[in-house]
């Protein structure tokens, strides 16, 4: 696939202290390092090895990822929001690239 592309689902607004559900997905083959090509050579591992979610710069949720996570990794988790602000999502690739996405939420 082309450059991995994140998708994130965060409610647009919430009330103060509400626990919201966040869903994230990113396009990535998650090459496990366990497969071989037609000539019998091991296809080198290339996965998303880390995912994190911060709110206004403070950690909310994170994940260390092994090759046992499926292609197009999906994470669903919760966050408690006290004030309006912005979520930052970051995915770290084995090849050193990072992919990020920001999403704002309004707290009423």
């Amino acid at each position: 696939m082309a450059t991995p592309k994140p998708r994130v689902k965060v409610p647009k607004s919430a009330s103060a202290g509400e626990v919201i559900t966040i869903k994230t997905l990113i396009s990535h083959n998650m090459e496990s390092g366990q497969r071989k090509d037609k000539d019998g050579n091991v296809i080198p591992r290339q996965i998303i090895n880390k995912f994190s979610c911060e709110f206004n710069g403070k950690p909310v949720f994170g994940c260390d990822i092994a090759p046992a996570i499926s292609a197009n990794p999906y994470f669903e988790f919760s966050a408690k929001v006290m004030e309006s602000g912005s979520f930052t999502f970051t995915w770290v690739d084995d090849n050193g690239e990072t992919y990020s996405h920001e999403q704002a939420i309004e707290v009423k």
């Binding site: 592309k5 998708r7 997905l25 998650m30």
Partner: protein, 286 residues
């Protein structure tokens, strides 16, 4: 007696003899509504001349976990390829300096419902073409770009994107155009012809044994309304002709080339068999 009651009775009978396998081989009796908004026709009256009374979507044959992946366009991994397809739609390629959008504009408007009528008769080629070949035709004639190599990631993504513009629309092939009827006849012959070392036809599994297990796989009616389909096995989109080839390979036969007359006829015929079912692209299957 309602379907639910019959199912309950059947389940009770089976449990009482101590084997739940037979009951669990039935397709489920559930509704599919995408994002709680777009109702899908997943069982409908079969068209005239069809061997069944009712045609069923393959969704009904899958586990609750697989079914739920398709119900929500966010959790459906196939939607990543729809988004990729949209990028390609808007990307200029070829000597004519055009993108798909240069001529067709916003696909949500111009392509709504279009792919539900494919494969359709192509007067220039004097044969039916599917969405993949329609894309290639546009690329060559209008964009002056190379046609896609079979199963190229861009071909998968753009075909998925185009089919998705018909999400929820009923599958309807027009057999009155050109020689479509004779292609249908030819496709029917392919469908019922046993091939390979295992001597199986499409009908051996999907007509005579749908609802039953082949080893641990729950056989569906083999309807194609969800293609290209996101398959958990590949973790990727699978084109219909790749799936045809996979099925034929499993009969241990030599498989025909993609988009060959044989497979195009089979596409015409199998698409017709699912007439009236909603386009589910990107469907999620095992």
């Amino acid at each position: 007696m309602s379907r639910k009651l019959i199912l309950a009775a059947a389940t009770a009978a089976v449990v009482s003899v101590g084997g739940a396998l037979v009951a669990s081989a039935d397709p489920v009796d559930e509704e599919l509504v995408i994002d709680g908004e777009i109702p899908m026709v997943i069982r409908t009256k079969a068209p005239e001349g069809h061997p069944f009374d009712e045609v069923l979507s393959g969704w009904l044959f899958r586990t609750p976990e697989t079914r739920s992946l398709e119900e929500d366009t966010f959790t459906n991994p196939g939607m990543l390829y729809v988004e990729r397809g949209e990028e390609i739609w808007n990307t200029v390629e070829g000597e004519a300096g055009k993108s798909c959008a240069s001529c067709h504009g916003d696909a949500a408007e111009t392509m709504a419902g279009v792919a539900a009528a494919y494969p359709k008769w192509d007067a220039d080629a004097e044969r039916p073409i599917n969405v993949e070949l329609q894309i290639d035709k546009c690329r060559e004639n209008n964009m002056k770009a190379e046609p896609y190599k079979f199963d190229a990631p861009e071909q998968r993504a753009l075909t998925t994107f185009l089919k998705h513009q018909s999400l929820g629309k009923p599958v309807q092939v027009d057999l009155s155009q050109g020689d479509m009827q004779s292609w249908w006849d030819q496709g029917k012959e392919v469908y019922y012809t046993r091939t390979g070392q295992l001597n199986l036809s499409c009908a051996s599994c999907h007509e005579e044994n749908n609802g039953k297990y082949i080893r641990a796989d729950h056989l569906s009616q083999g309807n194609v309304n969800g293609f290209p389909t996101y398959r958990l096995k590949q973790g990727n989109m699978v084109l219909l002709h790749s799936r045809f080839r996979g099925c034929i390979r499993d009969t241990r036969a030599e498989f025909p080339a993609p988009f060959s007359d044989e497979l195009m006829a089979l596409e015409v015929y199998t698409t017709w068999r699912g007439t009236g079912l909603s386009v589910e692209t990107p469907a999620v299957r095992q």
